[in-house]
Structure formats: structure tokens, C-alpha cells
Symmetry: C2
Subunit: 241 residues, 2 copies
């Protein structure tokens, strides 16, 4: 089948996937680009594929529809028009692992994507995102993960509530001025590191519940690191113990 | 003086500062936001200030002009309209330091800004940017530096040429599959680390000139790290020797 009209009902529905509220309602999101579609397929999250006319069919076992250039342009979130647009079901949320990176109101899509990518690299098994952070299903976040979101247990929840109820984790906050060098702390089996908002840092109610604070040693001329860099270095240090 | 017309000749010139070619022609760029304007002022790069009507004068020794909301909206690069818009002269390029981070065709403004910020944090004195990388004066780069660009020696040049002519530096390339763990290499006084393009890595002509290759230890499930994260961890490791 080839769809050439942007007014086709199915296409109108796909366009709505750009909207967070609609995504949450139907529990579906979209991915673009061969690499990430391949990851989604391998992990069993890809349920439907839209293919730019003239391009090859990728998977025999995934329903597909050909679309015209105009239609692909309409549903795509990219500057350049993709050849493939995949619809995926929302990620399963698994039980908590032992190494958690907690993101408290992270707003920059690039930062969230980068942190998920680094969590895979540095063996953090769970990425926990506060309800008020940027959505994991935001197209810019997905691109920044380079497909790594399908490799991780990602949980969006009330992090205040999580910390209150899970006393077995050592909850580590970051503080440039206080606390101790990440290189000098003991790393227990169960650890959760909290990364705060890009501008305001960790919110007070979460900060109050942290067991310990750490900093990354740096020159005083620099007030703080980018949130994605901070999170990555802390996870790297924990892995290297 | 208050300018209320977007057709004012001075305002038309400011709008042109959004264009790289014009910036290079006049050797001027603009910054927005109090923090970064303060950094520009402290380091002597701020030459002129445009202030949203109703806001305070910041510095008695810097020429200023009040502008209307409409005018500020026209010259600003931000989604929200700034209260202050500063015109700066291009950065002085100083003599080379001992610790150089070389960026080979970095394209993402957030990555370049993040790397400059991390270079300040981790005592790399020189950031060298290939001619075909995103411009340091791109407004998104400047925002991502959090004002740190005024704290660094930043040089845009032909990096092939630099490496050929400066044999006293140990030139280190990054290679996920080859080379040795950054933790295990000797760090000489003069070192330059090359970070490649986000998609393609280091170009062949530069790769051929590297003295050594290093990697950051990570899980095989992750093909590579974000370029800003890689650069930051490598600089962090060098500082911590």
C-alpha cells in the first residue's frame, strides 16, 4: 500500500505522535533513522514501519506501509526527510537494578539522551526520570540516545517517593561546594546517583533525602559541568572501582 | 537613547550578527543573558550593550542603547526575549598552551560549548577547532559554554597543518576498538587530544598523524559516547594524573 495524502486518517494519527499527551494516551512513539530502527526491531519494540516510496522493505515480520515524500515530510521530525519511520510501543519498565542514575527535572533533550547512552557504557542498569523531566519519548531525546534507550531499564516516576521507600540504596547527591571527591567514597552494591536540573540543581525535597554528597574535582574557574558530563563522569567513576 | 524601530540602521547591522559570514567580516559577535555578559565584561570583550527599556544600566564604562521589546525580539536569538544583549569583539588567540583539546569537524553546537566548559574545569589551556567545525561564535555554542569561552585560549585553524608543524606535542587520537585505556598511558608535559566528528570520527589525514590512540573503558553494548562526554572524560583523566 502507498499513502500519498497527508490528509489520510492514519497519517493524521502519526502526526499526533509528535505531541507528548497523545503519545502517553496511546503508549506509542516514533523513531527515525536506520540504526535506531534496527535497535527497536532487535529488542522487540518496533510494531509498524513507514517506508519512503522507492526504499527497500527492512523486515518481513513487521507490518509496513509505503508513503510519498510529502507524507514522510509531514510525519518526520527531522530536517532531512527520513527513508524509514518506525512506530514503537512504550518501553517496559523492569524491576530496579543495583546501579541507578536518577534525573531530577532534567530539561535538555540532548542531556537526557546522552545520559542514557552513557548509562549503557558505564553499566548503570536503571535510568530513573522524574515526572517533570523532559520525556524519554521526545524525538530529540531518542536521537541523542543513538538507539541506546532500548538497552536500558528506564523508569519515569515520582523520585521523592522512590527515595523515601527504597532505603537499601545509598543515595548520592552532587554538590560542587560540599561533599567529598567521588574518587574517595565507598561504593556499595546498591547505589543511586541524583543529577539535578541544569539551572537549579537538585530540588530541596530530594536533596534532604540524600545520604551523601559528592563532587567531581575541577578548577574553580568553572562553576559547574554540563549535566550530561557530570552524570557520565560519576557513572564512569563508579564503574571503575 | 531609545531605539524603537526594527528598521533602524544600527539594528539592521545587529541582526546581521546572526550570520557567520557577517560576524567574520566585522570580527564581532553577540551574547545574551546576564551571566555571560558579566563574563564578557570582566574579561574585556564587551564593547557595547543593548538594554530592554525599563531595565537597569549595568556598566558605566560600556556604551549602551535602550531598545524596545520589538527591537530586542528582532536582534535576540533566544525564545524568550533577553533584557540584555551585548556586542563583543572576537577573542584574542594566544600562544599555544601545554594541554590542547583538538576538535576535528565537531558539528553540534552543544558539544562544542560543553567541551569548552569542561576544558576550563579540567585545566586544558587551549581549545583548537578545525576550520570546518561549528563556529565558536554561534549563539548556541556560546550559550552552552555558560560564559566559559572568555576563560580559554580558543584557536580556530587548520589542524592538519598544526599537527605537522608541532612535533613537541604527544598527539592522542581516540579509537574505541584499538589503542589503550586512557588510564594506562604516560602523560607528557605537552599533550594534544583529538576528538573527531560526531558521526564519522577523526578524518584519515589527521588520524595518520596521531602518535597514540586511547579509549575509554566501557560496556560493549555501547558503540560510542557522546563527543562532549568523551572529550570531558579524557581531559578529566589527564588532569587526575
Amino acid at each position: 500500500m502507498l499513502i500519498t495524502s497527508v490528509n489520510n486518517n492514519k497519517i493524521k494519527e502519526l502526526v499526533k505522535l509528535k505531541d507528548k499527551k497523545y503519545r502517553d494516551k496511546v503508549s506509542l512513539f516514533f523513531v527515525e533513522g536506520l540504526d535506531i530502527i534496527e535497535e527497536a526491531y532487535k529488542k522487540g519494540y518496533l510494531i509498524e514501519l513507514y517506508i519512503l516510496e522507492g526504499s527497500d522493505i527492512l523486515y518481513e515480520d513487521i507490518p509496513y506501509t509505503y508513503v510519498s515524500y510529502e507524507v514522510m515530510k509531514k510525519i518526520s521530525d527531522m530536517d532531512s526527510v527520513s527513508r524509514y519511520y518506525g512506530v514503537c510501543k512504550y518501553l517496559d519498565e523492569n524491576t530496579l537494578g543495583n546501579k541507578i542514575i536518577i534525573l531530577d527535572n532534567i530539561q535538555d533533550p540532548g542531556n537526557l539522551g546522552t545520559i542514557i547512552r552513557s548509562a549503557v557504557a558505564f553499566n548503570f542498569d536503571t535510568v530513573m526520570i522524574s515526572n517533570d523531566s523532559v520525556s524519554i519519548y521526545n524525538p530529540k531525546v531518542i536521537r541523542a540516545t543513538k538507539g541506546m534507550l532500548f538497552n536500558k531499564n528506564i523508569i519515569t516516576c515520582d523520585i521523592d517517593d522512590f527515595i523515601s521507600k527504597n532505603k537499601e540504596y545509598l543515595i548520592i547527591g552532587t554538590d560542587v561546594n560540599d561533599g567529598c571527591d567521588i574518587k574517595n567514597i565507598d561504593i556499595p552494591d546498591k547505589i543511586a546517583i541524583v543529577i539535578g536540573n541544569e539551572g537549579r540543581g537538585i530540588r530541596d525535597s530530594v536533596r534532604d533525602k540524600c545520604d551523601k554528597f559528592v563532587y567531581i574535582k575541577m578548577n574553580n574557574d568553572c562553576e559547574s559541568l554540563n549535566a550530561g558530563v557530570s552524570a557520565s563522569i560519576l557513572m564512569y567513576e563508579v564503574m571503575n572501582r
